[in-house]
């Protein structure tokens, strides 16, 4: 690239005046590079400001938050917000509920979507192509369209069978797969279709059953895709706010995002130190996973098309 440009301009027949006026290519490139870094830094400041401000506030005492000092600086750092939250029984309950729901939803989604994707990508049956398109379309139906009918359906189930589904944290295990399974299946179909057919034909000739082809060939080969789908499912089920807000109300049934929003904000009294600490702790698990598995995360984002 750079050599081509150099030839293009520098190769202009002895046109020294032009070359002098524009400056050397390398200097121009360097300047473009500095501008890139400059603007990138501006964007990084914009993108990282809220999380950094969370951290700053979480390290302050309530007295310091209320005082008229520089809000962007911590004068007397303290961990009291963290200690208070991590020793509060309700916060730990939220954390536990969130963790259990997420782990179960992720396992369920991955099992369901691997089986379905294998069958849709390789085995085919009557209507399987339509189903693949249907999976994609269901992925486009947002939770904001479904929560009201689901609410009514749950009430109806309660009337008919006496099973109370509303206000139990475990009901989220049935709800979150509507958000995770279609996309996970979609990613997995993409990964499974990219596996060369020769691979499973060879396995077939060697006498492998379909189950063996799936476990011995497809899952190991498509492992990056499975990890990407796992991360996606975890992020979605950890972050969802609408379903728990609509379906759970008692304090011991809440998951983390809703728990922080509804219990730490009491009327008009905002304890910002604790709220920011809670928000930071709530954001920590996805952030930690992201820090270690960034490439899989991005692969999942760019595989096919995603929500954004």
């Amino acid at each position: 690239m750079s050599t081509a440009t150099a030839v293009a301009t520098g190769g202009a027949p002895g046109g020294a005046p032009g070359a002098v006026r524009y400056g050397s290519i390398s200097r121009e490139r360097k300047r473009a590079l500095y501008w890139s870094y400059f603007f990138l830094s501006l964007f990084v400041v914009f993108f990282l400001m809220p999380p950094i401000y969370m951290l700053i506030t979480s390290l302050k005492s309530s007295a310091e938050i209320g005082a008229v000092t520089n809000p962007w600086w911590v004068y007397h750092p303290t961990l009291e917000n963290y200690v208070n939250l991590l020793s509060s029984k309700s916060f730990l309950t939220f954390f536990k509920n969130s963790a259990v729901v997420s782990v179960l939803v992720v396992s369920l989604s991955i099992i369901v979507s691997i089986l379905a994707a294998f069958s849709l990508a390789r085995m085919k049956f009557w209507g399987s192509a339509t189903l693949a398109t249907g999976v994609f379309l269901t992925y486009l139906i947002p939770d904001t369209l479904l929560f009201i009918p689901l609410f009514k359906i749950f009430a109806w189930i309660h009337d008919k069978t006496g099973i109370e589904l509303i206000n139990h944290w475990w009901v989220l295990i049935f709800l979150y797969p509507t958000l995770t399974v279609p996309f996970c299946t979609w990613i997995m179909i993409g990964y499974f279709s990219s596996i060369p057919k020769e691979l499973d034909e060879a396995a077939l000739i060697d006498g492998a059953s379909y189950f063996q082809i799936l476990t011995r060939v497809f899952i190991p080969v498509a492992l990056p895709g499975i990890i990407a789908a796992t991360i996606f499912a975890f992020t979605v089920s950890w972050a969802n706010f609408l379903y728990p807000l609509a379906f759970t109300t008692s304090e011991d049934q809440l998951v983390l995002p809703v728990g922080i929003v509804t219990t730490l904000i009491k009327g008009d009294v905002y304890n910002w130190g604790q709220i920011m600490t809670g928000a930071l702790l709530g954001a920590a698990p996805p952030l930690i996973i992201y820090a270690f598995l960034m490439d899989y995360y991005i692969a999942g984002l760019t595989a096919g098309a995603t929500k954004g």
């Binding site: 690239m1 081509a4 293009a8 590079l33 990138l40 964007f43 914009f46 993108f47 990282l48 400001m49 809220p50 999380p51 969370m54 809000p71 962007w72 369901v112 379905a116 069958s119 849709l120 085919k124 399987s128 189903l131 398109t133 379309l137 269901t138 486009l140 139906i141 939770d143 904001t144 369209l145 479904l146 929560f147 009201i148 009918p149 009514k152 359906i153 049935f174 797969p177 509507t178 399974v181 077939l204 972050a239 706010f241 609408l242 995002p257 922080i260 709220i275 920011m276 928000a279 709530g282 954001a283 996805p286 952030l287 992201y290 960034m294 995360y297 096919g304 995603t306 929500k307 954004g308």
Partner: protein, 309 residues
């Protein structure tokens, strides 16, 4: 593979007569059984509720009487409804445009720096997308706090007047859009960066030889090459932004005086808090036309992309 299917069918056909076990052994049956959990989840928890919403929208508040289009007619007469329509469209369109533009610009800057450093920058720039939106919106709520706003503190030191971030309807609308752009533009950046990487270098070289400057390279080379991704990403984002709930709910809860409500938050307020599920369902159904249109275009684009590959 087709041969394998054919032979399977033949084998199955031979042993079909009344033999349940052979049906179970048939490949398509196994395939169907494997997809069954997915089908069950989609039918019970997505398709059925979606249609049930339509039925629900035709009932009266206590859900005892069929009122036909009564709920819709009631909504059409309320000025709040039209305000919500206006705000939803304004919110979604503005936010998507800004996300796309910022994503496009940042993607070019990241693409411009040496490959070695790109990973680090990309990693930092994607963080807003990773944090659960409900959590990061809390940070924005605190940044917009009426008495302790950290932005207003900076403005005060620069000699600027302080801004009533969420107290004034126009600033509140600006606020929800700003937070949405903040959350969503990293996603655009990642998608566009992936698209940029797939533009062959030869095209830029050819353009350079023809004397194109950087703007012409972006306009005549990058933009056409990225068109499909730009469309798909934009349409996806339009759906999600249009159906947004978390940000508006936490940041303004529709206020001041319902000026920032979008369909999802208003449906929640009417349906769950106001205890009028049919009315809430009617409101949320208004998202459907936009979602459907966007979905059709996405599907067409995805198919096209599949054919090109």
């Amino acid at each position: 593979m087709a041969d394998a299917v054919a032979s399977d069918l033949r084998v199955a056909a031979v042993g079909r007569r009344g033999n349940a076990r052979s049906i179970l052994r048939r490949k398509s049956t196994v395939a169907f059984l494997m997809a069954l959990p997915l089908i069950a989840i989609i039918l019970c928890l997505v398709v059925y509720p979606a249609f049930y919403a339509i039925h629900l929208a035709t009932l009266n508040k206590s859900m005892t009487k069929f009122v036909g289009f009564g709920n819709f007619l009631f909504l059409f007469k309320r000025s709040t409804f039209w305000m919500v329509v206006e705000q939803s469209v304004l919110f979604a369109v503005t936010a998507v445009i800004f996300k796309a533009v910022i994503g496009f610009i940042v993607a070019h800057f990241v693409h411009n720096i040496p490959l070695k450093g790109q990973r680090k920058w990309r990693g930092m720039l994607l963080i807003p997308w990773v944090i659960p939106p409900a959590m990061s919106t809390l940070a924005w709520l605190w940044l917009f706090d009426p008495s302790y706003s950290a932005f207003n503190w900076i403005f005060a030191h620069l000699g600027l007047p302080s801004i009533p971030w969420l107290g004034n309807p126009y600033w509140a609308r600006f606020g929800v859009i700003l937070v949405n752009v903040w959350v969503g533009s990293p996603f655009f950046m990642i998608m566009y960066l992936a698209a940029l990487k797939s533009v062959p270098d030869q095209l830029h070289e050819a353009a350079a030889i023809d004397g194109a400057n950087w703007l012409q390279k972006i306009w005549y080379v990058n933009l056409p090459m990225m068109r499909n991704i730009i469309q798909i990403t934009g349409l996806f984002s339009l759906i999600v932004t249009f159906a947004n709930f978390d940000i508006v709910k936490i940041l303004t809860n529709g206020g001041p005086v319902d000026q920032t409500h979008v369909f999802a938050t208003w449906a929640f307020t009417l349906g769950i808090w106001g205890n009028d599920l049919p009315l809430g369902a009617s409101v949320s159904l208004f998202m459907f036309p936009i979602l459907g249109t966007a979905a059709i275009f996405i599907l067409r684009n995805v198919r096209k992309r599949g054919n090109e590959a």
